[in-house]
Symmetry: D2
């Protein structure tokens, strides 16, 4: 799997790709920093967005509609950062993904994004969103 031009320009590489999931990774370079000297919010987003785009387009052509990025901690120059996208919902016309941005074992940011699926019917999805809670072993009290 070849990265797109923007991913290439940022030195990002595809580590994993399957229908509805993707892992993209890279190193925070000097040219990726903000005024605080840490990874620019736009760089971390571009990393997450790339994993999101790959995961969703692996289901058929899709375009981003709306994305959210929550920032938890800074990533420093030289750090390895990895974005792990998974599908949380797949409908005929839309799909939603979550992407964890991780560095040195810590959750740096969390991305949630929804796409419009251009193909629609032509690419019937497998796995409709199953609540993760079903597998979480939560004991619910009465």
């Amino acid at each position: 799997m070849r990265p797109d031009p923007f991913m290439a320009a940022l030195g990002l590489e595809v580590r994993h790709l399957a229908p509805g999931e993707a892992v993209v990774a890279g190193v925070v370079g000097e040219s990726h920093l903000n005024l605080h000297g840490t990874a620019h919010g736009g760089f971390l987003y571009a990393l997450a967005d790339s994993a999101f785009a790959l995961a969703s387009n692996a289901r058929g052509p899709a375009v981003a509609l709306s994305c959210r990025m929550d920032y938890f901690r800074p990533a420093t120059a030289g750090a390895w950062v990895e974005a792990r996208a998974k599908e949380v919902n797949l409908s005929r016309r839309t799909a939603t993904y979550q992407v964890e941005v991780v560095s040195e074992g810590k959750l740096v940011a969390l991305f949630t994004g929804t796409v419009f699926r251009l193909g629609g019917d032509a690419f019937p999805g497998a796995g409709e969103g199953v609540p993760s809670g079903q597998n979480s072993g939560w004991e619910e009290e009465g």
Copy 2:
């Protein structure tokens, strides 16, 4: 744990509560419907938001800053709906939660919300966000 006035008015009950997590549930009543005859987006959000508020305030006083709600499928009148909140990040001043809204084994909606923690230092958190990916058994390709 007693529901707050709005939860009580909507017939919502607390099923589980622990620091950073909560489960709130209820039944979609006739008075909770929208023009399409399914659960109003505001009702489903109120359900998720209640679990979010309980989970976050169980860490000390906190107020909501910014929330996202992704809708995946309708919930019908009479359906049991459940919101399951878990903490994805806990910092000194802010914290972020995800809430799955589930009905009849399906993921109906996904909520992501961030709070400002009024107490700050006074309520040092445990468990800083750990990437779920660490436990996901993903095999990353080179």
Copy 3:
């Protein structure tokens, strides 16, 4: 214009409705409060979401995909609250709205929401999103 069942249950009324815009208002009642004694985040969201639903469905049938709610200040019991929805983008298959939640001359919350338009072609939109900046008189420096 008649409110839907959930709006009616919350005492919300439609104050204005036109293609792509709506105003919905109500009073924060005792049954709409949270644990802090101010308007529940879910109540304020339901208010905004109702204006969003009316504004978007006035373009033809549409369902909510993804919404964001930013909370700025509390609304107290007895306060009049008003949600004003306007269209920021209208495409063939999706549309995006912003809703300001106002009380006593203050911006209490800001809602941004995107719908999927079920009718699609059947309801060709008027006014495609025009940047508000065009009218803002900003002087850009070189």
Copy 4:
């Protein structure tokens, strides 16, 4: 006003900067494209995020907490794109901004972002969020 390293790497320039507002602009280059041959979502976000960061830090040091990006239409290679940030709320500890991404007179994307203000008290804000609706001349029906 000097761009930060990431802005510089993307060829972005600061066109306007004042407390709570900023305009950042650039050209969509070949290295900013996605697989569809249009501006990468991460590039457009980085543009908006840069305006957001400048506008918010012009109030005192601040870090991004949570951002939303809504995509409306593609931007093509060679197009001039401009991000215009304005403040919609300023509180002691947090502030929220909206950024319109415009190209060739069209609204390409809309960004909404919230920061945590590190300085807090030290940088008392001016202009608390005033509803734009107050100036909109909407006639509300009874």
